[in-house]
Point group: C2
Chain length 471, copies 2
Amino acid sequence: MKLYEGLADYLRQRIEQGFVAGGERMPSIRALSREHGVSITTVQEAYRQLEDAGLVESRPKSGYFARLRSTTPDLPQVSRPVRRPIEVSQWEDVLNILGAEAPSKLFSLGHAMPDLAGATLKPLLKLWSMQARRSDMRGLEYDSLRGTEELRTQVARLGDHSGCQLHPDELIITTGCQEALFCALRAVTEPGDIVAVDSPCFYGAMQAIKANDLKVMEIPTHPESGLSIEALELAMEQWPIKALAVTPTCNNPLGYSMPDSRKRELLLLAQRFDIAIIEDDIYGDLTYAWPRPRTIKAFDTDGRVLLCSSFSKTLAPGLRLGWIAPGRYRSQVIHNKFVSTAASSTLSQLAVAQFIAEGGYERHLRKVRAQYQRYRDQMVSWLEEHFPPGIRISYPQGGYLLWVEFAREVDCVELNRELSDRQFRIAPGVLFSATGKYRNCMRLNFVNGVDAQTEEALCVLGDMIRQRYPD
Amino acid sequence: MKLYEGLADYLRQRIEQGFVAGGERMPSIRALSREHGVSITTVQEAYRQLEDAGLVESRPKSGYFARLRSTTPDLPQVSRPVRRPIEVSQWEDVLNILGAEAPSKLFSLGHAMPDLAGATLKPLLKLWSMQARRSDMRGLEYDSLRGTEELRTQVARLGDHSGCQLHPDELIITTGCQEALFCALRAVTEPGDIVAVDSPCFYGAMQAIKANDLKVMEIPTHPESGLSIEALELAMEQWPIKALAVTPTCNNPLGYSMPDSRKRELLLLAQRFDIAIIEDDIYGDLTYAWPRPRTIKAFDTDGRVLLCSSFSKTLAPGLRLGWIAPGRYRSQVIHNKFVSTAASSTLSQLAVAQFIAEGGYERHLRKVRAQYQRYRDQMVSWLEEHFPPGIRISYPQGGYLLWVEFAREVDCVELNRELSDRQFRIAPGVLFSATGKYRNCMRLNFVNGVDAQTEEALCVLGDMIRQRYPD
């Protein structure tokens, strides 16, 4: 292998492993020459190779830059859920993916657990530890029903990023976003009511719908623009829909963020039919583009939006800290919160409030946003490389989850079962449907991004699909 | 004042302030003589005085002992709740006592917060702090839906104390006892069903009943033997009661523990009418007598008892850690737990599990049980001293709550309102009724036991009652 080929290989790996993000400047020719003890010409030759391979581009007077992914992958098709209100099933599948009955140390490509190993989380742990030892032992006390003032103040301040002017008194701290969603649903519905959701839809929201004896009306979504407002309007004309539960920013599982204009339209529609909107913004702060998109809540003029979120995806799920801005449903939500858990963990609240106040949250976000964006590009490349041709892949605008759609005959539930001998798991698409649709889809996380274990798992999975579905 | 009178006064205070518990040995004559620099005769004279006052008793060859309270106070009357299924109201009163809208640093005689200042809790804080800094950062991860194996193992082991043979897999960790009660209620009822409760009844359970569109059938209770099984049987013959929710050990608010035989009878009755029993055992480990009484769950043969408990009263409420042993309703409870909060705080679980494993929990219990028993006696004495004659006081067998019943015209809601200028609060009896009964009753805690602030508050309250209700 020639010298320049070796160097080109090295640089290619740096890009492919995500150490250099798309759009980022590559090391200068002079620096590489010094660092690797090779001539200027050799470095130039290496860059020429990479340029030919479409991995870098030269910009006059600025040097070489890693290329942004110029093309989005083949996106999944617009979803086609059942076109009538139905009951939610799929609990057994959810229970299975949660590993509730047989918890294990399996490597999971299906779970939505953020990266917890980064240095920017360390200060939070330190604060947590300090709060545990404060002499007034406030961490041991019952917290106020609405949450500590410290945390509500910080969460209200963070609302600015999404265009939300919130007063701390408008917020209620919850035990994760799940409790926020649960309290919100119970506040705006009666048993038997119909709730519209984006489809595919987060299984936690759908199981909460099931638990409250509600019916679900799944609305088609486009993999880039999100929920079809036209389909929703049609559904609302046909059925007495009581509320809409959506994840419009960094959608789980598809990753899209609805444009502001579509969010505004959604709100107008909700106003016209006088329904409540339960907005799940749990991944919202993880959008790659900053400033982040607005929430629907940012446009809310009459308190019909119940904004639900949490630190489970941005910081750590073990904190069990979420919040809700319930608008006009405040008093009902407070009652719901009281009867379900009375209060949330005081100590976690104090630690997180201090972490935000000291700038740790925003520092952490800056880091993980860039990291997850690199990982996304890597993941998409790997999928295109290791999976059979013809697959469709969502192209997330934030977060660390994507959606893969295979040919119709591929059965991801079956694949997952086969994987039980291997050391990892996926989240089959059926979890995100009320009736077990999306069997040929799966949700993958790219939290672990560039590591060898992830690529190995994708190779195994790719081979398995090729063997099982040979054409 | 003579020398012996001064010494007698000093010893009286020690007893009254709870530094010497009923039944405990007093300092020896020799030791007091040395310590106070007085003659043996002076000490003997002092003890004679105390003996005459009924505060100590001499036992041959053993010395002097602080006297156990020989008489229970005048107990409250058997409760007489409404004799038909009704809807629960009183939410506004509950919200008020919770201080949700205007949290404040008021001294509360009504709140059920345990003593958090003791030395035996310190090791827990240390473990908490250590767990926050462990390098694998497990405290940040999603916990398994059912709770960490570490904590379930320890809770199962503790079950032995109450005669319960539980396997860790039979337990589900919850976010406090409130979530356990909520999940239990939802598992065994449908909207519109009737749930029987002991009356007066913990308001958290009743508000959960309200939130689930259930009706409540309040059953009379005796201040010593607890729920009237005869009244319950009558009610079950008349109404289609679906479940029974009771706190049979260290009852909140009355403090009684139902005898084992009554618990067994209750279970037989539940079997005969085929209903579920939701057993709240949150104060159970705080019974003064040890070994502690059995739970109803200990007698359960067919899985119809859902045992709910937590560390909120024994350790600290800020932990937000409870559990449920749901018997035959396990799968429904798991679904309910998932939709309400998905998981509980991992870090708290790890810290508490280690605290129990290292013997810290049992050490702490031994200490606070003795402490709360002393405080009870002190509290009863103070109430008899500072409150108008004719009041009735429950005589708790565990925990740190008691119930005071005044003459019919006394309005504790009104008293509490008047107290808003003062720096403390009580819990008016209406909170513990579905319909605002028990207005002439209040629940007091004696967590702070022997401190001057508590006695001062009782004096203020006593004066207020005397002024407002002069006969």
